[in-house]
Amino acid sequence: MKNNAKIKMNCRYILNLVGVVVITLIGFLSFGQADSAVMNQGKRPNIIFILGDNHNADFMGCAGHSFIKTPGMDRLAREGLMFTNTFNTTSLCSPSRASILTGTYAHNHGVKNNHISWTGTRKTFLEYLSEAGYSTAFIGKWHMPGGLPEMPFLDLYVSYTDHEGQGRYFNCPMIVNGEEVASRKSYITEEVTDYAIEFMENSVKTPAKDRKPFCIYLAHRPGHPPFQSPKDIRGMYDSQNISKNLPKQVDEYWFGKTDGNVFQGVMMGSYYDQYRKYCETITAMDRDIVRILDKVDELGLEDNTLVIYMGDNGMQWGTHGCHGIREPYEESIRLPFIVRAPWLIRDNSEKCDQIIANVDIAPFLLDIAGVEVPKSMDGKSLKPLLREPDGKFSDACLLEFWRYYPENTPSYTGVRTQRYKYVEFEKSRKPWLFDLKKDPKEEENIYNTPNGQKEVKRLQAIMKELKSQ
């Protein structure tokens, strides 16, 4: 009897202990519960990565722009997490796209300017995901010289080579899985979005138990000159008083044609009109982002699909007397970046102001898919930030640029921290040092001041370290 009682007590003790351990573990792992649920059910998340072109991060309704209509991006921001300090490590189309795809800096992937072909020395995140069992689609703008590369691992490959890979806004001939075909829709964002939607629809036709998760890379043209939009959008901002949105020094008729800005495709017409048309193209693209989000809902994929919107570059509209994307001012290097992942983001009322770089995208997407991030990638996954936007991430982001003919910006290397931006230029241009906390508009170069000189060495050391990666 005594022995039986002892055994009963031991059993109760062990059961209690197990119970406590289980409860503790459940509590401990509760942060990752939803994520684990998604992963453990064999439902690795689908990924839809949408890329805009030359999209100034302030040109979204959710970013506070005074008139632009972007309900799709606004919805993403409302349901997801908007990052306000995301930077382009090389402020030019081809290098930026290569950095996004490979997770590496331009000095590593080798596409240093728009005259250098895709080197193919680094694998894209699409290839890694394909190897991990994802169904992958590259749809839209490739825009690196040397034609479209072979990417046999893709399940769908839709792009174009017209106009040096820039494509046309209307009736752009497409190359679908290697075959040139006529465009099915007149406007280019509708055309490429249709392919993305078809890919999603085909994906869900497969019985659930055999279904592979998908990843769609959807790269749009809007934001790039010449700014053209569909008929029903064209002219929608004609009544807007643009002078309120531009620096006082920017006049309507001549700014875009003088002092070097003639390089930027704004030779013709009024600068204010160019601004309006630019906004119209963003709105046109946004309409197709709405279509994507609606289709995700319609197919019942919203709880298991990561949706990202990002730009490849920013865009300067007259600030500092410049028009374009290549000068390392905030308007050029800061990117719009919004992530929606309902199973990871706990509080979507916040914005995240951590420093993120375009090289962080590929590691992030691999991490989300449960694929090990290769050491060769320079960026790191920002998945932890989705749960804790205030958590520790990067202290600084490398900025590098190799001169690109005929843009009148010398090669440079720099670093952007939460507080400072330091840039060293080649040729005769003097270094920049801006204290962004005191001077967010970058109007006072403090490089030659005693305070500035105190910071320079520290920033140079950070720059050197980032550059050595």
């Binding site: 240093k112 010449p226 700014f255």
Partner: protein
């Protein structure tokens, strides 16, 4: 037709156009520091416009005056091209702030410059006809119309419109960049 002295027939019109261009350039740049919004906008509009006119339409004025005052063809063409050429040189010089000298020189062939050269051809053809008309009214020449200026005008007009109509100038720009890559590769060693 009596030939006037070199200063009167060529130097004066060139200096006048060039002076307008230079004053306009500094006037436009200076307008940006004017605090009053309305005044700044007016000053920028005036100087921006005169800057554009002096570079783009200056050749028409210089050529017409030169023709009426008895300049020879070569002299007229050189004189009328001087201001646009100096503007192009300024743009080329600006590129040397970022690019090597030879690559900067290639900017002379930029689509914008080519478009301006084509447009100047159109102007010179028209200036010839107008100058002849003035001289005819004075009884100094008999013929106004002849094939040469009409052909120059026709070809120039075709090229001016064609260069823009062909992909809104984008195709020409793509060709220009292809030429650059053939000559200089990516520009990076």
């Amino acid at each position: 037709m009596q030939q006037q002295n070199f200063i009167s027939r060529s130097v004066f019109p060139v200096v006048l156009v060039l002076a307008i261009a230079i004053i306009s350039f500094f006037g436009y740049s200076g307008s940006q520091s004017i605090e009053n919004d309305k005044i700044r906008a007016v000053v920028a509009l005036i100087f921006g416009t005169t800057y554009f006119l002096s570079i783009t339409f200056g050749p028409f004025y210089v050529y017409t005056i030169g023709y009426v005052k008895g300049s020879l063809l070569k002299e007229r063409i050189l004189a009328s091209s001087l201001t646009p050429f100096l503007w192009m040189t300024k743009e080329v010089f600006r590129l040397t702030h970022s690019h090597p000298f030879l690559e900067s020189l290639y900017w002379y062939l930029s689509p914008l410059h080519l478009w301006l050269i084509m447009f100047i051809g159109l102007e010179l053809g028209a200036a010839t006809l107008i100058a002849r008309k003035i001289l005819k009214n004075r009884g100094e020449v008999k013929i106004v119309m002849s094939p040469a200026p009409l052909i120059v005008m026709g070809v120039s007009l075709f090229l001016v419109i064609g260069a823009y109509a062909w992909g809104k100038g984008e195709n020409l720009y793509v060709m220009f960049l292809e030429g650059y890559r053939i000559l200089f590769g990516s520009g990076l060693s």
